[in-house]
């Protein structure tokens, strides 16, 4: 009898509870005013059970300590400090509810335990949100900080979910929550599989955190899942390393590609090459300064404007150098080295005198900042653009060299100057233009490098040796060799770095190149035939 009575009461309550749950959450919130911590926790559970997403701001405010009750009528409001008092906001509708003096309201106390309860309650509520984006980020939130309390909510949300992507994310969130709950072993085993498929550092952390408390029979599954994720992680790390290597390689390519023309094709040891890169970077700086001062709206276009400017400035400087100095030195490569070294000193000092010895600030346009993830890797936009950019320049140059009349003239002059001259090619012009082209490309490289490196008068010095290494390693007079050399040196460097440290890695690469040149004095892709001795 008594039992029947109890079960009846229970039945009524269990029917009543949902009907109560569907009702307005406002009274529940108002109850918070006089609740102690234990009561507040119970109330929060009921508020969450309403499934009414309108309470989310109130819960957030509660967690932040911005929830107040009015002493006069014990009604609860979200309070925003305004002058001497507070602006009161209705906790459910978000409507303004007038103002209150500072001493007219009292803050509702909060502790960390309640904050945790609020977090999971909010996670649960937002899981039901009609907005797809909110549901997705709520599922992510559960994924990041799983707890058994969320499990029922997640499952409830999952049952209602129709969107495939959100559903998948919720599946994962459910699996994560199952592991920390007291569900059956089989269910947990399934959860481990789901998390394993999820992968990534986060999954590894979740599995690691439960490995101490989990049922012994699940241990092998767990360990297998952990090692599977770890090996996948290693693959991603390797991929990330390759990416860093390619990115470094593209920087090397950018720096070296102009040299591949002046040194590789024309045979001039252009020690001023680094300074051409530096001039390009400073051109970018000047262009950006002008844009900042006169047309700030164009800032995102500054790089696009700076590129042709850098090309023209450094190309013109290169033209002057060729006409003024280098044309007297053809056939004496070692002396071009000395003369161009002198030019580089003068250019450096000129820039130092004009702009000062310190680093100049060159800004990134918005489309070059930030990053995006691919699987387990993060890819920054500026590195991405530099790779795209260096390859574009490379292929454009290749096109000019192989497919245009000018490129044909150029190759003819470098192969046999007198014969080319006899055929009516104006060799002095071709020389001057080729040197200007090489210098101009160095200038473009400088404009690009200004995005990732310090712009100072010493900028060029840090690239000159690397550039020569790339050209010599790839094989002089061979653009493809330069490409492959740059990328492989970049990747090699990045794979040595974690093992040996950055500096030692660089030393090792230098030593390897020195040894390599002993083996193949003409580089990876040596020119064959008569051109060799020329």
């Amino acid at each position: 009898m008594l039992i029947r009575l109890f079960s009846l009461i229970f039945l009524i309550l269990s029917f009543a509870a949902p009907s109560f749950a569907q009702s307005d959450p406002k009274p529940l919130i108002n109850h918070l005013a006089k609740a102690d911590f234990a009561e507040a926790e119970a109330l929060l559970g009921q508020i969450a059970a309403t499934g009414d997403t309108r309470v989310v701001p109130a819960l957030q405010a509660f967690s932040d300590g911005d929830l107040y009750f009015r002493k006069s009528d014990n009604l609860v409001f979200i309070g925003k400090a305004a002058g001497a008092g507070f602006d009161l906001i209705d906790p459910v509708t978000g409507a303004s509810a007038g103002q209150a003096a500072k001493n007219a309201v009292t803050k509702i106390k909060i502790n960390n335990n309640l904050r945790r309860v609020i977090r999971s309650a909010m996670g649960g509520l937002t899981l039901m949100s009609p907005d797809r984006g909110v549901r997705l980020s709520a599922a992510d939130a559960v994924l990041r900080s799983p707890s058994a309390e969320n499990l029922d909510l997640v499952e409830a949300a999952l049952a209602k979910e129709t969107d495939r992507e959100v559903k998948a994310r919720m599946e994962e969130a459910r699996a994560v929550s199952v592991l920390s709950s007291d569900r059956s072993v089989d269910e947990k085993r399934g959860a481990i599989q789901t998390i394993k498929a999820l992968g990534g550092r986060n999954a590894l952390g979740i599995l690691g955190s439960v490995s101490g408390s989990i049922d012994a029979s699940l241990k092998p599954d767990l360990d297998a899942a952990i090692s599977a994720i770890q090996s996948e992680q290693q693959l991603w790390d390797m991929g990330q390393n390759v990416w860093y290597g390619l990115s470094l390689g593209s920087v090397l390519l950018l720096a070296a590609i102009g040299l591949a023309i002046t040194f590789g094709v024309m045979g001039i040891i252009n020690m001023a090459h680094g300074e051409m890169v530096m001039l390009g970077a400073y051109s970018t700086f000047v262009v950006q300064q002008l844009i900042r001062d006169h047309a700030p709206g164009l800032f995102d276009w500054s790089l696009a404007i700076a590129l042709p400017v850098a090309f023209l400035v450094t190309g013109a400087v290169g033209f002057v150098i060729e006409r003024g100095i280098i044309r007297f030195l053809y056939g004496r490569p070692l002396e071009t080295l000395l003369a161009t070294w002198g030019v580089s000193l003068i250019l450096q000092q000129t820039i130092r005198s004009i702009f000062g010895p310190t680093n100049q600030e060159v800004g990134n346009p918005s489309w070059m900042s930030g990053s995006f993830p691919i699987g387990g890797m993060t890819i920054t936009w500026n590195r991405m653009w530099i790779i795209v950019f260096s390859l574009t320049i490379f292929f454009a140059l290749l096109f000019v060299m192989k497919r245009t009349a000018y490129g044909l003239n150029m190759r003819a002059v470098t192969q046999n100057r007198r014969m080319a001259s006899s055929m009516g090619i104006k060799t002095p012009w071709v020389d001057a233009l080729t040197f200007a082209l090489g210098s101009g490309i160095a200038g473009i490289a400088g404009a690009a490098l200004s995005q990732i490196d310090n712009v100072s008068p010493n900028l060029g010095q840090s690239y000159i040796i690397d550039s020569f290494m790339v050209v010599v390693f790839g094989g002089v007079g061979n653009l493809w060799g330069t490409l492959i050399a740059a990328l492989s040196l970049g990747v090699l460097n990045k794979f040595l770095e974690p093992v040996t440290g950055a500096v030692l890695g660089k030393i090792l690469v230098l030593v390897l190149i020195i040894l390599f040149i002993q083996k193949r004095p003409r580089g990876l892709f040596a020119l064959k035939g008569r051109a060799v001795e020329a």
Binding site: E335, I465, L510
Partner: protein, 387 residues
């Protein structure tokens, strides 16, 4: 044989140069030590130290000239040999500090105590012994040159390629010596020297002796270089410079010839570095900077490569100019140096001494031609007289 070797070395100009250097070696220290400071003839210590430094640079330039001017190997890494010699000397001087360092450790130099070294690294052993250190001054640069040259010359890396890999060599060493865990003091290098062979490095007397030794070593190396270049070997050397393939086809082992010269030159550079360090009181990785090695090339080019006296004059002139400019117009030094590089390559490819010699030689050739002209007329005159 050795006497004939030396005899051949002591040709006119070399004798004059050696005599001048030895004169300076005696005179300058004497004027510094024996005259009162207010005398018109007194040479202040700082000037003597400055010129002592120039003499070391002159020796370095001479070393480079031996390989570049006579063998056609443009080394852009001679600063590395110079710095290695300097480090060997610096290690000896560090060990001489003993317990007088800031941390007072009798064995470990200050920087090692600072970097928590427990014991002396193996390569520092023996450097407390002067003779050992002096052997290392020759051996370390010589060995590096030998290994480097052995590989490079055997695989016929030459010209531009050789220049670039020598530059890579000194750059790699620069990076390596900047590392703290190399055991060479990292960034700061070796400094705070106290004494050398028991004499304080700061004392005027020691400085005078160091100056004299620099001048004497320079003249000794000049004699050796002269002996090498004036021997039959020296002729082959010039042959290698001007037509390497022909010399090879004549049956000479070009790589051995180059290797020998390269090693001797590296040892000269090592000696220069060893004399440099006690006079300036510091050696740090900056000495390995590729720019330094290229600067040596311009001293040699200014003075005249392919002449033995040229590089000595070039080194002293350019460095005196540098001291003057960096003091008077620091902004303009790089303009001046850069301009010098360009001017020398464009207008003075033989350098100062080379151009003067060329002038003399053409005048002599002109005179000889005139004499020959007269001589050819003479028999005709005799014949006419006989008739």
């Amino acid at each position: 044989m050795i006497t004939s070797f030396i005899h051949r070395a002591l040709e006119g100009k070399i004798v004059v140069a050696v005599a001048t250097l030895l004169g300076i070696a005696v005179l300058v220290p004497a004027l510094n030590l024996l005259t009162p400071p207010d005398s018109a003839f007194h040479i202040p210590t700082y000037v003597m130290a400055l010129f002592g430094k120039y003499l070391c640079y002159a020796l370095l330039a001479l070393a480079l000239d031996l390989v570049w001017g006579y063998c056609g190997i443009l080394s852009l890494g001679h600063g590395a040999f110079f710095a290695l010699g300097g480090y060997a000397m610096g290690m000896y001087l560090m060990r001489q500090i003993g317990p007088r360092g800031v941390y007072g450790n009798p064995i470990l130099p200050d920087f090692m105590v600072f970097l928590n070294y427990k014991e002396l690294p193996w390569f520092w052993h023996g450097f407390d012994w002067f003779v050992f250190a002096m052997v290392m001054v020759l051996l370390v640069p010589g060995l590096l040159a030998f290994i480097f040259g052995w590989f490079a010359f055997r695989s016929r890396v030459n010209g531009v390629y050789l220049s670039i890999i020598t530059q890579a060599m000194t750059y790699a060493l620069l990076l390596a010596f900047f590392r703290n865990d190399m055991g060479f003091g990292g960034n700061n290098g070796l400094t705070d020297f106290k004494d050398i062979l028991g004499f304080s490095v700061q004392a005027d007397g020691t400085r005078a002796v160091l100056f004299a030794i620099s001048a004497i070593m320079l003249s000794l190396c000049l004699i050796v270089a002269s002996a090498i270049t004036r021997s039959k070997f020296g002729k082959v050397l010039v042959g290698v410079r001007d037509a390497e393939s022909r010399v090879r086809f004549l049956g000479f082992r070009v790589e051995n010839i180059k290797l020998f010269t390269f090693v001797v030159s590296a040892m000269f550079a090592g000696i220069a570095g060893a004399l440099f360090v006690p006079q300036v009181g510091i050696i740090n990785p900056g000495e390995f900077a590729p720019a330094n090695s290229i600067e040596v090339v311009v001293w040699t080019a200014v003075g005249g490569r392919g002449t033995l006296i040229g590089p000595i004059i070039g080194a002293i002139l350019v460095n005196a100019g540098k001291s003057f400019f960096t003091g008077a117009f620091p902004e303009f030094w790089l303009f001046a140096l850069g301009g010098l590089f360009i001017a020398v390559t464009l207008f003075l490819p033989k350098g100062i001494v080379g151009t003067i010699q060329h002038g003399f030689r053409t005048r002599r050739a002109y005179k000889a031609a005139a004499e020959a002209e007269k001589g050819r007329d003479a028999p005709v005159a005799i014949a006419q007289a006989a008739e």
